[in-house]
Every structure is written in structure tokens, then in C-alpha cells.
Symmetry: C2
Subunit: 211 residues, 2 copies
DNA sequence: TCTTGATTGAACCGATCGGTCAAAACATCG
DNA sequence: CGATGTTTTGACCGATCGGTTCAATCAAGA
């Protein structure tokens, strides 16, 4: 076993992927040229095509990596231990921590979701498992249909988590202090926990009302 | 006073603006070429520059129109009549109705917020009044600082409203039924109202705890 | 040493982009 | 009608894009 690198796991190909990760996250698909990626990776442009075939393929790969990383990050929080509230807090924390450590992810996702109807299938592929999974857990405390169904809370919470990081930079000047600072993120986490508690309370009262 | 049209309010310039509105909203700045806009407006490409100078200027104009329309839509819900809960419900409804009637607006906004650091100042200009305004109302029921401060709820609610419309199309297949249908939107409105009630309840209990 | 795959450099392609320009077309007024 | 000022057009420009090609290097395995 020598050092001759095989395709797709050579050092150079990793550099390219890393550069693509960063640039696509920062400025989006249209804002980045293959030349930019090659330059950032310190690599010849032709090599990008040599390894990944096309700009689209490279982008898809970056997106998929993000989504599976997201799923992996959430998996660790899936343990059934603790009270219901504790479990939801853990999921929220995992979500927040992941985004906190991958600031480009929410931007990339929002951009994609809000983008045209083109890449819709790709987003769906990445988002579906996350959705179904979270929905299953939420179903324990939610009615199956109506305004309190799991899917509504899924949107509400994913919005509450993600939009904090996407809107944060915009509103920072009105904020006083950086919304991305550790203290600020901790405060946001507390807000979300409080929200979870209040909602669980409300749902419980709701089901009492039913019986 | 004859019918010689002055620049910027001629029929053609309105057609151009309309086409730009639609296309920028659908596919975003980078996804649209000036040729596309001209074609959709049924007009020569050069005329776009004749009236609006540049693609950037036209885009700014479209964005500003969206933001002021948003502010106008919310203004109608600002009346002080009714209970606190009623007033918040009214604001939510106004927000939902506006987006419901301008489906491209949330996509454009999300795309812009998640975009690079370039257009940040432009977004800020449009979003600041909306933020300050809503924050003032929220301040009646929120502590000034900490996890329950107004700004946290602003993000949470704007996310809960906006993301429903941006994520809706993506999750539609898992949903069963169109999330954009009138019934579905009504159900979402009910979800948000419930959320408002539960949160107001929680905040009240919180302030009781303090005293 | 010879072979094979990784990597580079540069030139090149067709397509598309935002933007310009000068002339045509038009409407209006004298 | 002709003069005048505006609106509209089509052709054109340079730049950039994604992608290809090909000859030249380089390193390591056989």
C-alpha cells in the first residue's frame, strides 16, 4: 500500500471539496466560478473537472455532505433517556450546535429552498429524512392533524433555529452585540428551551381538554 | 398638457418593472438575465437600461417596492383596539395574508438574507423599520433583555410565518395536499394563533413569578 | 527502466452575460 | 410639411462562464 492516491480520496481532491464547501456556502452556486474554486484550492482548474466531472456534480456532492452531516449531528440527540422536555431540549441543542459549527449550512439551505424550482428534488432528498425523523418524535405529543400537528411544529422550530443564524447578521447593528457570539447563542438556546416548555405545557392542557 | 409620456411612468416602464418583479422573485438575481426580463415584458433589451440604468438598480427598486409593500400591509394591523392577544393575532394575519398574496416575496427575502455579504445593507434598509416597529409592540409583553426579549420572538415568529411558505413547496409531497391551498394556510394561521396564545400565557406567568 | 496515473499549464470553444451606441421610429408642435 | 425631442430598436462589445483538449511534467510500482 503506497502513497499513490486513488481518485476521490487524494489530497488534492479533498482540497477541492473543501474549497467548494466554503465558497458555495458563502456566496452560493451562481456566485462561484469553477476558477474561483480551483484558485482557493490551490489547484488547476482542469483538475476540478478531472475529479468531479462538472460544477453541478460538485455542488450536489457538497449539498449532500451537508445534509448527511446534519442528520448525523441530530442522531446523537435521539436517545430516549430523560423526560420529554429533556429530549426535546437535547434535539434543539444538537441542532443549534451543528449550525453554530457550520455557519454556511443554514445559508446554503435557505438559499436552496428559496431558489427556483430547479433543485427542488435535491433539497427534498436531503430534507426528507430529517423531517420524517423529527416528525416521528414530535408525534408523541402532537395530534395527527390540524393546527397542532407535528409538521407545523417542525416548520416553526426549524425556522426558529435557522432564521436566528440567517437573520442575525442582518439585524446585528440593531441588536447591540454580535448575535453569533457564544453568549448570544446561549441566550438563543435558552429562548428555544423556554419555547419548548411552554408549548409542551400547552399541548398537555390541550389533550386534557379533549378527554 | 399632452400625452407624451415622461420617463419612469410610461406604460413600457411599468411592464418592465412588472416582469422584473416576477422574475427576480421566481429565480433570484443571478438566475435572471436582462434579456429574460425584456422578453417577458415584450420589450427591447436596451429599453430596460434606458429606463432603469442597470440591472442592479432595477433589482434594488424591486426589492424596495417589496419591503414598503410589506410595511404598508402590516400598518393596517397596527390598530390598538382589542385585547393583547387579538392585536397579535391581527398582526400575524396581516403578515400571513400579505405573503399569501405575494408568494415571491418570502423567497426573495430569504434568498437575499442568506446571500453573500454584498447586499446586506439593502436588506437592512428594508428590514429595519419592520423590525423596530414590531419590536415596539412586542416590548409591551416582553422583558427588555434575556432569552424572552422581543427580538427573540421577532425572529421566532417571522421564521414561523415565512418558512411555512418557503419550506412548504419542498415538503409538499410528504404533506398530503398543497400547503399553499386556502385551507392549509388557514390551518397554519390557526397554528400561529395558538402559538401566540400559549406564549402570551407563558410570559404572563413569567412576570407573575418575578413579582 | 518502463509504465501508469496524478497534475499542471495554457490555449481554446461556444454560449451567455451586462452594457453601449447610433440610427430608426414615433409623436408632437410650429 | 418640417423641426424637435423622446422612445425603441438591432447590432455590437468585451468579459466571463463551464467545459474540453493536449502536450508536458512528476512520482511511484512493476
Amino acid at each position: 500500500m503506497t502513497r499513490r492516491p486513488k481518485a476521490k480520496d487524494s489530497e488534492r481532491s479533498a482540497q477541492i471539496l473543501e474549497a467548494a464547501d466554503a465558497l458555495f456556502g458563502e456566496v452560493g452556486f451562481d456566485g462561484v466560478s469553477v476558477r474561483d474554486i480551483a484558485e482557493r484550492a490551490g489547484v488547476n482548474k482542469a483538475l476540478v473537472f478531472y475529479y468531479y466531472g462538472s460544477k453541478d456534480a460538485l455542488f450536489e456532492l457538497v449539498v449532500e455532505r451537508f445534509y448527511t452531516a446534519h442528520a448525523d449531528a441530530l442522531a446523537s440527540a435521539f436517545a430516549a433517556e430523560g423526560s420529554q422536555a429533556e429530549r426535546f431540549h437535547r434535539m434543539i441543542d444538537a441542532y443549534v450546535d451543528f449550525i453554530d459549527a457550520n455557519r454556511n449550512y443554514p445559508r446554503l439551505m435557505q438559499r436552496q429552498v428559496a431558489g427556483g424550482t430547479e433543485g427542488l428534488e435535491l433539497i427534498r432528498k436531503g430534507l426528507t429524512p430529517l423531517f420524517e425523523w423529527t416528525e416521528r418524535i414530535l408525534s408523541e405529543v402532537c395530534p395527527e392533524r390540524g393546527p397542532l400537528a407535528a409538521r407545523h411544529f417542525w416548520i416553526t422550530f426549524s425556522g426558529a433555529v435557522i432564521n436566528y443564524f440567517t437573520y442575525g447578521p442582518v439585524l446585528a447593528p440593531l441588536w447591540g452585540g454580535d448575535p453569533g457570539s457564544p453568549q448570544a447563542v446561549t441566550e438563543r438556546r435558552a429562548h428555544l428551551h423556554w419555547l419548548v416548555d411552554v408549548i409542551l405545557d400547552g399541548l398537555e392542557r390541550e389533550s386534557d381538554k379533549q378527554e
